[in-house]
C-alpha cells in the first residue's frame, strides 16, 4: 500500500520533472522551438546493439537540426538543467533527512555546518594563489564532509550522540566557519566577485563533467538513505520510542547523518550554497503526502529536482542572469507562505 502510494507519486513527479526539463531546454537567448528541442534530446538517446560480433551504439532518433542548435541545447542548456535537477534532488533529500532526524521544522541541509564547511573549502580554494584541476568542487566537498565529521565527533560522548548537542555543536562550528569566510572575503582582492557569486549559489557554467562527478555519490547515497526511511519514522517519535521498537538508535543516527552530509556536500560542491530548496521542499511535500518518510523522501527528492530546474530557468531567462539562490528564496518563500495559509498546518 505504502509502496503503491510511493510509486504513484514518484511516477507523477517523474513525468512533471521530464516536462520541466524539456520546457526549460527551450528557454534561453537563442530562440529554439519545442519540437527542435525535443528532436535534439531524442537524438541523444543511444541504444547498445550487438551486430556483426561487436557492440555498437546506435542513435535511433537521428534528427535534422543545425549544429548550433545541437550545441546550445546539448552542451550548454542540458548539462545545466540536469545539474540543477541533481542538486535540487540532493538538497531536498538532505533537508528531509535532517528535518526528520532533528524533529525540527527549521532544519535544512546547512543545519550542522556542512554548507559552511564546504563554503570555507571553496572560498579558501578560490582565494588561494594555486589552481589545480577540479580543485574547487573537491575543496568544497572535502570541507563539507570534514565539518560533518568534526561536528559528529564533538557531539559524541561514550558512544551516544544527543541530537540537541549535535545541533548546538553544528551552530557553533557554522558560526566559526562564518568568521573564517568573512576574513577570507576581506582578503579576497580580485577574487571577491567570484567568491560572492559562488556563495550565492549558481548553476552557471555547468558542464557534463561537473554533472558526472555529482551524480554517482548522490544516487548511491540516496539509495542507502531510502533503506533508512523506516528508521526515520521511528526516530521522529523520539529516541526512547525508537529504541523500544527495536531500532539501533545510535547506529541509525550515524548512518543518516553520514548520508545526509555526503549528499549535501556533493550538491554544494558543484553549485555553491543554494538556500531554501532543502528547507521548503520537504515541507511542501509533507503537506501533500504526509509524514511517512517511505513516501516523503523519494517524493521530496523529485520535487526538489523540479523546483530547482524551474527556478534556475527563471534565473537565466531574464536579460541579466541571476544567481539561482536568489530566485529560490524569492519564489519559494511566498509559495511556502501561501501553502501555510491555505492549508491547516498542525505540526512538522
Amino acid at each position: 500500500m505504502v509502496l503503491h502510494r510511493t510509486l504513484r507519486w514518484s511516477a507523477g513527479l517523474g513525468v512533471v520533472l521530464l516536462g520541466v526539463i524539456v520546457g526549460s531546454a527551450t528557454i534561453g537567448p537563442a530562440d529554439i522551438g519545442v519540437f527542435e528541442t525535443i528532436a535534439v534530446l531524442l537524438e541523444m538517446v543511444v541504444v547498445p546493439t550487438y551486430a556483426a560480433g561487436s557492440l555498437e551504439w546506435i542513435h535511433p532518433f537521428a534528427a535534422d537540426v543545425s549544429t548550433t542548435t545541437r550545441t546550445i541545447v546539448g552542451s550548454i542548456r542540458l548539462p545545466r538543467i540536469l545539474l540543477g535537477a541533481v542538486v535540487g534532488f540532493a538538497l531536498a533529500t538532505a533537508g528531509t533527512v535532517f528535518q526528520g532526524f532533528f524533529r525540527n521544522p527549521l532544519a535544512d541541509p546547512s543545519i550542522i555546518g556542512i554548507s559552511a564547511g564546504a563554503a570555507t573549502g571553496a572560498v579558501g580554494y578560490i582565494v588561494a594563489p594555486v589552481t589545480v584541476p577540479y580543485g574547487l568542487p573537491a575543496a568544497a566537498f572535502v570541507g563539507g564532509l570534514f565539518t560533518g565529521g568534526l561536528v559528529y565527533v564533538i557531539a559524541t560522548e561514550g558512544g551516544r550522540t544527543p541530537v540537541a548537542t549535535l545541533l548546538l555543536a553544528g551552530i557553533a562550528v557554522q558560526t566559526f566557519f562564518g568568521a573564517v569566510i568573512s576574513y577570507l572575503l576581506l582578503n579576497a582582492g580580485r577574487s571577491l566577485e567570484r567568491v560572492v557569486y559562488w556563495l550565492m549559489g549558481h548553476l552557471h557554467a555547468s558542464t557534463w563533467w561537473r554533472l558526472s562527478i555529482a551524480v554517482p555519490p548522490v544516487l548511491v547515497v540516496f539509495a542507502l538513505l531510502l533503506a533508512h526511511t523506516r528508521d526515520l519514522n521511528l526516530l521522529m517519535m523520539g529516541e526512547e520510542h525508537a529504541h523500544a521498537l527495536g531500532l539501533d538508535v545510535e547506529r541509525s543516527k550515524r548512518n543518516l547523518l553520514a548520508g545526509a552530509s555526503i549528499v549535501t556536500a556533493a550538491g554544494v560542491a558543484v553549485s555553491g550554497v543554494i538556500g531554501f530548496v532543502g528547507l521548503v521542499v520537504p515541507h511542501i511535500m509533507r503537506l501533500l503526502v504526509g509524514p511517512d518518510h517511505r513516501v516523503l523522501l523519494p517524493t521530496s527528492a523529485l520535487a526538489g529536482a523540479i523546483f530547482l530546474v524551474a527556478t534556475d530557468t527563471v534565473a537565466r531567462a531574464g536579460a541579466a542572469e541571476l544567481p539561482v539562490g536568489i530566485v529560490t528564496a524569492a519564489l519559494g518563500a511566498p509559495f511556502f507562505l501561501y501553502l501555510l495559509i491555505s492549508r491547516e498546518v498542525h505540526s512538522v
Partner: protein
Amino acid sequence: MIEVNDLVVELGGQQILKTVSLSVATGTVLGLVGPNGAGKTTLLRTIDGFLDPTAGTVRVDGDRVETLDASDLGQRVGVVPQESTIGFDFDVETLVEMGRYPHRGRFGTPTEADRRAIETALKRTDTTGLRDRSITTLSGGQRRRVLIARALAQDPAVLLLDEPTASLDINHQTAILSLVRSIAADDRTVILAMHDLDLAARFCDRVALLENGTIRARGRPQDVLTADRLKAVFGVDVAVEPHPATGHPSVTPQPEDG
C-alpha cells in the same frame, strides 16, 4: 521471565537506582509503585536496555539484555512509554505497523505474519475502527490503546508500561488495565509503573514499592501496601481496608487534621 540483580543506575553523576533486585515470572503482572522520583521510570528504561546499568544485570528469559542486539531486544521487550505529545500525524495503522520493525528486514513489503500481527494487535486493543485516523485526532484513552497495540505488534515476551492510566478517566483506566491483564494471561510478563495504589492492588499479581532508588517491599499487594509502610514512604496518613466488593486492599489518604 525477568530477573533483575543488584541493579545500580547512575544518571548525570546521581545514583537513581541503588542495588535493585526483583524477578517477575511469566504470565504475571508486577506493579511498580512509589513516590515521584523513586526510580520507577529509570528501572523500566534499564530493563528495556535504553539505559545502561552502572552495575548489576537484567535478564530476559535468561539472556542478559546488554548482550542482545537492538532488533532481538525489540522482538522480546515491548514498551509503552509515558504519555508523550505525539505531534506528527501518522495514521493509526502506520503507527502499529512500526511495531513490526524488529521482525522485518530493511527492504521488502510486510509478510503475511506481519499483517496478521498488526490485525491481532488492532483487534485486541479495540482500535481496528481507528486504523485510518490520524493519531493527532484521537483522545487520550484511544492514543494509549494505539501505543499498546504498537507494542503488541512486536509480539514481545515482556511488556513494560509506564503509567498507562495517567490522565485517563476511571472507565478508560479499568479498560486499559483489564487489557493488560489479558495480555499477561497469554504467557507474557508485564511490568507497570503506576501511581494509583488502589488500581495497582486490584490489577497486579505482585507489587514492588520503590523509594529513593531501592525496593522497600515487594510481594502480594495486601502484604506490601500496609498503612504503616505507606505512611513511611509517602509521608501521608492512609487507611488501608479490604475493598467491600473485591477484597483487594483499598487505600484512602487521611486528611492531616482529620
